[in-house]
């Protein structure tokens, strides 16, 4: 296989770096890892050393410096770069630089044009609307005119009242913003103008662009995702099912992900859940086909209590929770789907080799994100040393962690205190829930910080929430 000649630069850290290294190993590819001084004890450094020796490791001063990563790639003779998630994963400029520099590399991810196109929320929304894909009601272009803005807000309030929403909300956001910057809610049309002006001035200061978006603020929804995979031809995207990521921290960070997105067989929904899942997968694939999507990606949806789906955004990268989709997926009936390996394989140019009809799903997968944090105190990160970390091996359990279970591990303060991902499979929802609780009960996770206080983790939060998974 020609892809064997490639060498992949793993431009990330922690759990995802480990999984990329393992996937490279599985595909018989050479790899190079980078790490910073704080990460010297991290699991991805250990596994890279084990599988590739010292020559496959290179210390960098920052994961954020593209110049350094390019230097490492050239020095190691890498031919491809895997960005993982976070850092450069959705940076189209990085992807462009990688693929257009004098010594060209393969960016394992969608092409930079796709990243740019789908990375823009207005563009994504307009693309969706042009294909008849449902999006959040509101404007689909930046509004610069105060009168027009108020008119849109007014009709949004009226629209929500017609729909019987008791407390209508309107969201005003800077069209050039992102990451939660420059967003504000309006609950009364009389307050709209002052909020609008505030956001507009903020946007002008911060982004040098006065445009704002005005949308309905949807509350009481479930967060669903569609996993899309497509080879470099971009013509035949397939989906690997849906996920439900509604259990989140107060900061709206996902904590539990379940595949599939709904389970109409065991839970009663107020709408046709199976139809919703079919709709969102079809819509996602239609958009992927339209833009010529050419790697793995996730279409994020919100589904309201009355079963109306709205496209939220497209993540043009592999996601943390890819494993939970893989665990219920069967390709031509075969278990052991590895989406990261698939991503690398098709990223390097191989055709996908199977179609949608070859993909089936079996059972329910649950993924827990084990994090050192204090759920009772607004999920404040906890920093200290992990002394004991262990769990009984089970056939239905897959653990992805960079935290060693035989050595103490200091949680670095530079990054999120993520410890592990636990993926549990059950033949149905009841069994998955049961096994999840069993796993959390048998998990050993101990430690202390410098002050001698015991380790805090979200294990109890996860256990408490297991009962309500997939329920709307």
């Amino acid at each position: 296989m020609q892809t064997k000649d490639h060498k992949v630069l793993v431009a990330n850290r922690g759990e995802i770096a480990i999984r990329i290294v393992q996937a490279c190993r599985k595909l018989g590819l050479a790899f190079t890892c980078v790490y910073t001084a704080e990460d010297a004890a991290s699991g991805h450094v250990r596994i890279a050393r084990e599988l590739g020796g010292d020559k496959s490791l290179c210390r960098v001063s920052s994961y954020h410096d593209a110049n350094e990563l390019m230097a490492v790639a050239d020095d190691a003779g890498a031919t491809a770069v895997h960005p993982g998630y976070g850092f450069f994963a959705e940076d189209y400029r990085f992807a462009r630089r990688v693929s257009q520099r004098d010594r060209k590399l393969i960016f394992i991810g969608p092409s930079w044009r796709v990243i740019r196109e789908l990375g823009d929320k207005i563009n994504t929304k307009r693309l969706a609307r042009s294909l008849g894909v449902p999006t959040v009601p509101g404007s689909d272009r930046p509004i610069y005119d105060e009168m027009e803005a108020e008119k849109v807000a007014q009709s949004l309030f009226e629209f929500q009242e017609q729909q019987g929403i008791r407390k209508p909300l309107v969201l005003v956001k800077a069209s050039a913003g992102g990451g939660g910057m420059g967003i504000e809610e309006v609950y009364d049309i009389d307050l709209f103008r002052s909020v609008y002006r505030r956001i507009r001035n903020y946007a002008l200061r911060q982004f040098k662009d006065e445009g704002v978006l005005i949308e309905q603020r949807i509350r009481d929804f479930n967060h669903l995702e569609v996993q899309v995979v497509s080879d470099r031809s971009g013509r035949n995207p397939v989906h690997f099912g849906t996920r439900n990521c509604s259990i989140q921290s107060t900061g709206l960070q996902k904590r539990v992900e379940i595949a599939p997105g709904f389970d109409p067989s065991s839970i009663e929904y107020g709408f046709d859940a199976a139809q919703v899942l079919r709709d969102i997968t079809n819509h996602s694939l239609a958009m992927a086909r339209k833009v010529g999507y050419d790697n793995v990606g996730t279409w994020e949806w919100i589904v309201t209590r009355d079963g109306r789906p709205f496209l939220m955004e497209v993540n043009t990268r592999i996601q943390v929770e890819n494993g939970v989709s893989a665990t219920i997926a069967r390709v031509r009936g075969q278990k052991g789907v590895d989406l990261i390996a698939e991503q690398i394989r098709i990223g390097l140019g191989e055709p996908l080799g199977y179609g949608q009809e070859d993909i089936t799903f079996e059972g329910v997968g649950v993924e827990y994100r084990l994090i050192a944090e204090d759920p009772d105190n607004r999920f404040t990160p906890w920093v200290g040393r992990v002394d004991g970390f262990g769990w009984p091996e089970r056939p239905w359990l897959a653990m992805h962690t960079h935290v060693p279970s035989d050595d103490p591990y200091d949680i670095p303060t530079e990054f999120d205190p993520n410890l592990a991902l636990a993926i549990i499979w059950g033949k149905d929802l009841a069994e998955a829930r049961e096994r999840g609780v069993e796993f959390l009960d048998t998990l050993v996770l101990e430690g202390a910080n410098n002050a001698g206080e015991p380790l805090r983790s979200n294990v109890r939060f996860l256990r408490d929430n297991t009962g309500r998974i997939l329920k709307f």
Partner: protein, 749 residues
């Protein structure tokens, strides 16, 4: 006793000669020295019978030698003359030329700047039996025979501001201004208000002063001289110099000297020769109007004849200016008659000319001044248009004057009235229509399937694709992409050490980011074409005055070659591009100084088009009324080219210009475009207070009334649109038309 004084005086004269010639003509100096010593010896021995006769003989010998050496003065000797402590200074002139004077604005150390001296002085004349005191304001640099606190006549910006303030006083009082230029250059203060900036302010104001200004140049060094030198009559002392830069400064540039190095004397001498700094040269080139002859080897405080002559010259110059604009014929004839006389033999004290002007005479005075300096600039630049073209342009201009008079002065007023009327009628009709239509609408809404907006319609509006004209948008694509964006390299921001900026990839930095560091906002200089093609509406640029060429009016050796090189390299004829353009349909007249052309420094050819812009602007009034409220609104949407909003988005860049251009009067715009080399150059030029041996004078008064000949517009045309972000380092293949750009990075700055 008298003998002692006279010998002392002769010793001073000897020292002066020795200083002036700096090691040349040693045999003459030795002769004088030995004669003087011999006299002194004999005096002490008491062996001289007639001291007076011997002294007179000796003095005659000194006179003879001085006259002899006078013929051999080189320009550099003259530089040494004007810098000598024994040289006459402004105080001597006030004492000896004027009849009474009072220093104003602080005396000596109590002045804000002791190197700038302001005095109200009188010239007393007789007309028949009447005695008339004519007040004048005397302004000039005071060197004070080497007094240290005078800074050798180097005036600080606040000194020039003081001068300007008193010029305004003279204007209020309606009395003439006499300025005396005794400066090696202004004192280099770069902080606010800035040496160059203050000089520019002075020039601007002096161009419009409504009283006669007479300037006398003794030492006119670079910009400092201009601060008080813009005058209706410019006299020059025969041993003075007047130059764009001191010979040492010129030599430093010629010899490419670094800080702390000194130029070789030969080079300085050569530069003094080349810079055409003497009175004769300046007269020949027309920069001064008349030379006042000094005694051999230059005037010193004891040359009372010289002061008498200077007094007559000053009075004559003032009279000439006054009579030139008074427009009463017999006086003009008299002036002409007087021109034949010699200054020393004239007696203008017994003739009276009232030194005040009527309002219309003042207008004529200012108009003359404008034309005078415009002519100076035009002579220093090359205008290579054929005569026929010039004529047709003049006709064209005249036609435009008439046309714009009808269109804007006559028609516009009525147009506006009609427009207002229509607006009023429309508003009335609207209210009427509402009233009439309301019941009808109520009925149709009540009917099923009525035409009023239903909830479905609202929903459709909120959830389906809206119309959005994306055509006119740049979407973060620049029409012109810097050639530096083709190189695969990382560029370090100069602020990296202090702001922690990571290196930026050149295609990102010079392409999408428009040369702005995304971490700290540092602006890397961009090519002038970048501004040309990205700031203004595509295809809206019409260049004019393209034929004006930078010339070498001084005939400076080697400068022609450099100019030719610059012209070849940039494809431009001077460092100033003038054009009409639009930004979001707001019309502008623009002057752009282009750095790659000789560092963007401004000479005559660069300054020449500027007054023309004003005239052009007047001819085509550019309405600011019809702009949209958010001129940049549709230029870009959420796809702002820079994430986190740092740096310019195209709209923001344009917005700035539009606001400036539309909101302020006059709606003229000058874009200084610098590249690293150019910036460096300008800064260095600023330190030397000079603009490198080209064009003269350094600045031109804006608002000159006479329009500059209009060249046929040259269409710069839209560049082929490069879809910038699509175009990677490898596929930018389009060669940019106007110039190759110095590939300087921040590192080597």
């Amino acid at each position: 006793m008298d003998t002692e004084k006279r010998t002392q005086h002769l010793a001073e004269r000897l020292g002066y000669i020795r200083d002036v010639f700096g090691g040349k003509h040693n045999e003459n100096i030795a002769l004088l020295e030995s004669k003087l010593q011999e006299f002194n010896l004999r005096l002490s021995e008491g062996s001289i019978s007639d001291e007076n006769a011997a002294l007179t003989t000796l003095e005659d010998l000194f006179d003879f030698v001085e006259r002899k050496l006078e013929a051999e003065l080189t320009p550099m000797d003259k530089v040494r003359i004007v810098r000598h402590p024994q040289r006459i200074c402004l105080r001597d002139i006030l004492e000896n030329v004027y009849d009474n004077f009072t220093e104003i604005g602080g005396k000596d150390e109590h002045s804000i700047d002791p190197s700038m001296l302001i005095a109200r002085a009188y010239i007393t004349r007789r007309s028949g039996k009447k005695t008339i005191n004519q007040p004048v304001l005397v302004i000039g640099q005071e060197k004070g025979h080497g007094e240290e606190f005078r800074n050798g006549g180097s005036v600080k910006p606040w000194g020039n501001a003081k001068a300007l303030q008193y010029m305004k006083v003279a204007e209020t009082e309606g009395i003439p201004i006499h300025t005396y230029v005794f400066t090696p250059g202004s004192y280099p203060v770069e902080d606010y208000p800035g040496a160059a900036q203050q000089i520019a302010r002075n020039l601007y104001e002096m161009a419009g002063l409504r009283v006669p200004v007479i300037a006398v140049f003794s030492e006119g060094g670079s910009g400092g001289a201009e601060a008080i030198g813009l005058a209706d009559r410019r006299l020059m002392l025969s041993h003075g110099y007047y130059s764009v830069i001191s010979p040492e400064g010129g030599a430093a540039i010629e010899g490419r000297l670094r800080q702390g190095q000194r130029a070789a004397p030969e080079l300085i001498e050569k530069c003094a020769q080349q810079l055409r700094i003497t009175a004769e040269d300046n007269l020949r080139m027309g920069y001064i109007d008349h030379v006042v002859t000094e005694p051999p080897l230059g005037a010193r405080p004891y040359h009372y004849d010289f002061f008498r002559g200077l007094r007559q010259e000053i009075i004559r110059a003032t009279d000439e200016v006054i009579l030139g604009v008074k427009g009463f014929a017999p006086f003009r004839a008299m002036v002409l008659r007087r021109r034949r006389g010699k200054a020393e033999t004239m007696d203008l004290d017994n003739m009276y000319v009232r030194w005040s002007l009527s309002a219309s005479a003042k207008d004529r005075l200012v108009g003359r001044r404008h034309r005078k300096f415009n002519r100076l600039a035009r002579n220093a630049a090359r205008d290579r248009r054929p005569v026929l073209r010039k004529l047709s342009n003049m006709g064209w201009d005249a036609w435009w004057d008439i046309y714009s008079y009808f269109k804007y002065d006559l028609l516009r007023k009525h147009q506006q009235k009609i427009a207002y009327l229509v607006e009023e009628v429309e508003a009335e009709a609207q209210v009427l229509m509402e009233k009439v239509a309301a019941p009808w609408r109520k009925i149709t809404c009540a009917l099923p399937g009525g035409s009023c907006q239903s909830s479905e319609e609202t929903e459709r509006e909120l959830t389906t694709l809206s119309d959005w004209d994306e055509e006119g948008q740049r979407n973060g694509n620049w029409s012109y992409v810097s050639p530096r964006a083709k190189e695969d390299r990382a560029i370090t921001c100069p602020n990296a050490a202090t702001h922690g900026c990571l290196d930026l990839w050149a295609p990102d930095l010079f392409g999408e980011f428009a040369g702005v560091c995304t971490y700290c906002g540092h602006h890397f200089p961009m090519e002038y074409q970048w501004y040309l093609h990205n700031v203004f509406d595509e295809g809206s640029i019409f260049e004019f005055n393209a034929e004006i060429e930078a010339g070498n009016p001084l005939g400076f050796e080697g400068f022609d070659v450099k100019l030719e090189q610059a012209k070849k390299q940039t494809g431009l004829k001077s460092g100033c591009v003038t054009f009409e353009a639009r930004i979001d349909n707001v019309k502008l007249v623009v002057a752009m100084l282009v750095a790659p052309f000789r560092g963007g420094s401004v000479g005559a050819a660069e300054a020449l088009p500027l007054p023309g812009l004003r005239a052009r602007h007047r001819r085509h009034p550019h309405p600011g009324r019809h702009q949209r409220r958010h001129p940049d609104a549709p230029l870009h949407h959420g796809r702002a080219p820079l994430h986190r909003g740092r740096g310019p988005v195209p709209g923001a860049v344009r917005h700035q210009f539009v606001r400036r251009a539309a909101g302020q009067l006059p709606r003229l715009l000058a874009l200084p475009v610098l590249h690293p080399f150019g910036q460096h150059r300008l800064r260095r030029a600023g330190r030397h207070q000079g603009d490198h041996g080209r064009g003269h004078p350094a600045g031109l008064p804006p608002g000159l009334s006479r329009p500059v000949a209009r060249a046929h517009p040259r269409h710069l045309g839209p560049p082929r649109r490069a879809r910038q972000p699509e175009a990677g380092p490898s596929d930018h293949g389009r060669p940019q038309p106007l110039l190759p750009v110095a590939r300087a990075t921040a590192r080597n700055r």
